[in-house]
Amino acid sequence: MLTVERLQEYGADTKTGLSRCAGNEALYLRLVGITIQELSSGALGEALEAGDLDKAYFIAHKLKGGVNNMALTPIADPLCELTELLRNKTPGDYNALYAKITAKTNELAAL
C-alpha cells in the first residue's frame, strides 16, 4: 500500500510534495496514484515508438508537471531530461531515457 514513508524511502521529496497539497496526506497519495496511472498508460512510449516527437513532447511535458509537483524525484530526473530533448527535438537516446522512466514508474507502482 502506498504510504508517505514508502514514498520517502523510494526517494520522493514527500515534504515538498505534501506542502503543495496543503499538508493533506490523503490528497497527496491520491494524486501520486493518479500520476502513476498516467505514467503507466504507455502513451509516451507509443508516441516515441511512432516517432511523433511533438506528441511525445506534449505528453512528456504534462507528465513532468505532475511528477515534479508530486516531487517524485527518481522519475523527475530522466523525465526532465527527456522533455528537454523533445522540446528541442535534439537527437538522443529517447528510448534509454524512457526505459529509465518506465523502470522507476514500475518501482513506484509496486510500493
Binding site: 506542502s19 497539497c21 496543503a22 508530486m70
Partner: protein, 571 residues
C-alpha cells in the same frame, strides 16, 4: 463586543477561474485554495474565454496555465488584456518556462506562479495579495475617474498635477481651464445624451493632445475641463484642436464654441489649486467673447481678486462698525425758471479702515454678484430713513430721498414689509422714500417684478427707473412698466455731451417719456450748458455736480439749509 456590519465585502468569497487541463494540478490548487475561494475550472482556452465573457464581473482573478490544448495560454492572456471590458481582471500565469514569464508580464499578466508549484501557503498568500491590490486599484480607478469621460476627477487631478511637477521640475507648464460656451443651452436644445457625447469627444481631443505634448486633464465640473501641460506658444491651435469635434457636432448649424483661460508658465510655488483659480479667472474674461475666446491670466486679475476677497471678508464688520457711509446728492426740479430743490439721492461710500474710501463702482458690482447687496441695501434704507426723520425733527425739513433697490431685493417676498417697517419705524410716509430700480432688473422675470413694483406703488412708494438707456432698454417696457420717473443713464448723458456732441437721441428719449407722461431725471449734469440744454429739451429733474457733488450728511445739511433759505428769499 465588536460591532459587525451585516454585510462586508471583505467576507465575501471571491471566485477564481483556474485554467488548467491537468487533473493533478487542478486538485492540488483546489486543495490549496478551496477553503478560501470558489473555484471555477476551465480545461481549455476556449472554455476559459467563454466563462470570462459571461462571468467576468464576478471573477476576482484568473490562474492561467500556459500549456493548454487548443488556444494557447498566451493567446488567452492577450485576448483578456485587449478587451476593455475584461482587461481589469488580474491574470496570474502558471508556468515552468522561465522565458515565458517576461513575455507574459509584458502581455499584461500581473504575476506568475512557477511550476512545480511553491508550497500551498505561498500560492495562497500571492493570490490573496494580488486580489487585494487589484480591488484597491479598481476602487481607485472608480474614485479618481469621472465616470462619463474617464478623465480624472478634480481632487485626483490636483494630486497628479503635483506629481507631474515632481517629474517635470524644470519644464514650464501651463494651467488651462476650458469650457463650452452656454453648455446648458446645448443640453436644453439637444438633450443630455447629446451633451454627454459632446463632453466625451472634447475629453478625447484633450487626451490626444496631451499624449503628444505631455500633461494631464480632468473634468472638474459639468462642462469645465482643467488641463495641466507642458507650455505651448500656440493656444489658438490648441483651442482649434479641442474644438475640432464641436464643428462636427453643430447639429443645426449653430456652432458650439469653447472658451479657454490660460495661466501661462504657471508659478510652481503657487498652490496647484490657486494656479487653476487663476486660469479660471482668465477664462471668465473670455465669456461670450466669440472673437476672443482665450483669456490670459495677468497679475492685475490676482490683485483685483485679492481686493474682492478683502471687501467680501470685511463686509459684515463694515456693517457692524458703520463703515458704510451714506452721501447725499441734491436733485432739482427745473420746470420753473429757478430750479427748486425736490429731493436727494442717497449714495453709499465705504470708509474702509485700511483701503480708505472705496468707490461704490468697486464694491456694488461685487456685492450684486454675490448677493451681499441685499444686506447693504437694507442697511442704507434704514440709515436714510433715520436721517430723513432726523432732518424732519431737528431741521423741520421733509426731503424725500431716493435709495437703490437692487434686483435681488425685488425677488425678496419680504421686500414690501421691510420697506413699510422702515418707514413706519421712523415715522415716515411711503412718499418720503423714493425707490430707484435699475432698468436691467425689468428684463428678467418681468411679470414678477411688475407685480412687486405695482404693489409698492399702491402703497404710495414713488418708483424711479434707474439707468434708463444703458443698453437693456426696450421701449415697449415704458408701456407696461409702472413707474413714476425715468432716470437717464449717466453714460448716456455723458456720451450725448462729449466732444462731438449729439443730443438727438437724448432729446428723443425725453420726448418719448413725456409722451408717456413720465417725468425724466438727468444725473451726472456737470455744466451750465448741459443744464440749459436738458432743461430746454424738457427734462424735469436734474442732478449732478452742476448743483452739488454727493456730500456727507453734515455738509449736506448745511447745503440744504442754504438752498431752502435761497428759495424762501426767491419766494
Amino acid at each position: 463586543m465588536n460591532a459587525k456590519n451585516s454585510f462586508s465585502i471583505s467576507e465575501e468569497r471571491r471566485r477564481i477561474l483556474l485554467v488548467e487541463d491537468d487533473y493533478v494540478n487542478q486538485e492540488m490548487l483546489k486543495a490549496t485554495l478551496g477553503d478560501v475561494y470558489d473555484i471555477v475550472i476551465a480545461e481549455t482556452g476556449e472554455e476559459a474565454l467563454e466563462i470570462i465573457q459571461n462571468q467576468h464581473e464576478t471573477l476576482s482573478i484568473v490562474l492561467l496555465d500556459l500549456n493548454l490544448p487548443g488556444i494557447q495560454g498566451t493567446d488567452v492572456l492577450s485576448r483578456i488584456k485587449n478587451a476593455p471590458q475584461y482587461s481589469r481582471l488580474p491574470v496570474i500565469v502558471m508556468t515552468s518556462d522561465n522565458e515565458a514569464e517576461v513575455e507574459c508580464l509584458k502581455l499584461g499578466a500581473i504575476d506568475f506562479i512557477p511550476k512545480p508549484y511553491p508550497a500551498s501557503k505561498v500560492i495562497l498568500a500571492r493570490i490573496l495579495r494580488t486580489i487585494e491590490l487589484s480591488e484597491d486599484r479598481e476602487t481607485l480607478r472608480l474614485t479618481e475617474r469621472d465616470q462619463l469621460t474617464g478623465l480624472y476627477n478634480k481632487e485626483f487631478f490636483y494630486h497628479y498635477a503635483a506629481q507631474f511637477d515632481l517629474y517635470h521640475k524644470e519644464a514650464p507648464t501651463d494651467a488651462i481651464v476650458f469650457d463650452v460656451n452656454h453648455f446648458h443651452t446645448y443640453n436644453d436644445r439637444y438633450g443630455k445624451a447629446s451633451g454627454d457625447e459632446l463632453l466625451k469627444k472634447i475629453a478625447n481631443k484633450a487626451l490626444s493632445y496631451l499624449n503628444e505634448v505631455g500633461g494631464i486633464v480632468c473634468r472638474s465640473v459639468a462642462d469645465t475641463f482643467m488641463m495641466y501641460c507642458i507650455h505651448t506658444d500656440n493656444y489658438e491651435e490648441l483651442l482649434a484642436r479641442l474644438s475640432a469635434c464641436l464643428d462636427e457636432d453643430s447639429i443645426s448649424g449653430n456652432r458650439v464654441r469653447l472658451r479657454m483661460g490660460v495661466y501661462v508658465n504657471a508659478d510652481k510655488n503657487v498652490d496647484i489649486e490657486r494656479r487653476f483659480d487663476r486660469a479660471k479667472m482668465a477664462a471668465d474674461t473670455a465669456r461670450d467673447h466669440l472673437n476672443a475666446p482665450i483669456g490670459f491670466f495677468d497679475h492685475s486679475m490676482r490683485e483685483a481678486e485679492i481686493l474682492e476677497e478683502q471687501l467680501i471678508d470685511g463686509f459684515h464688520t463694515a456693517l457692524r462698525e458703520k463703515q458704510f457711509v451714506v452721501y447725499y446728492q441734491l436733485k432739482f426740479d427745473v420746470k420753473q425758471d429757478v430750479p427748486v430743490l425736490s429731493s436727494a439721492e442717497a449714495l453709499v461710500r465705504w470708509k474702509h479702515p485700511t483701503l480708505g474710501l472705496v468707490s461704490p463702482g468697486v464694491f456694488i458690482p461685487l456685492f450684486e454678484k454675490n448677493g451681499l447687496i441685499q444686506e447693504l441695501d437694507n442697511y442704507v434704507w434704514s440709515q436714510v430713513a433715520s436721517q430723513i426723520k432726523d432732518w424732519k425733527e431737528n431741521l423741520n425739513i421733509t426731503l424725500p430721498v431716493s435709495v437703490n433697490v437692487s434686483r435681488i431685493n425685488l425677488y425678496d417676498p419680504k421686500l414690501t414689509d421691510k420697506l413699510l417697517n422702515i418707514t413706519e419705524m421712523n415715522g415716515l410716509t411711503t412718499k418720503n422714500l423714493l425707490l430707484e430700480i435699475t432698468e436691467s432688473a425689468y428684463t428678467e422675470k418681468t411679470d414678477q417684478i411688475i407685480t412687486t413694483v405695482k404693489n409698492l406703488r399702491k402703497l404710495g412708494f414713488y418708483i424711479e427707473m434707474d439707468d434708463f438707456g444703458c443698453g437693456y432698454s426696450s421701449l415697449s417696457m415704458l408701456i407696461d412698466m409702472p413707474i413714476d420717473a425715468l432716470k437717464l443713464d449717466i453714460q448716456f448723458i455723458r456720451s450725448a455731451f462729449k466732444e462731438q456732441k449729439d443730443t438727438r437721441l437724448l432729446e428723443a428719449m425725453i420726448g418719448l417719456a413725456k409722451s408717456f407722461e413720465v417725468p425724466t431725471i438727468a444725473e451726472g449734469v456737470e455744466t451750465a450748458e448741459q443744464y440749459a440744454e436738458l432743461k430746454a429739451m424738457g427734462c424735469n429733474i436734474i442732478q449732478g455736480y452742476y448743483f452739488s457733488r454727493p456730500l456727507p450728511k453734515e455738509e449736506f445739511e448745511k447745503l440744504i439749509i442754504n438752498e431752502l433759505k435761497k428759495e424762501e428769499h426767491v419766494c
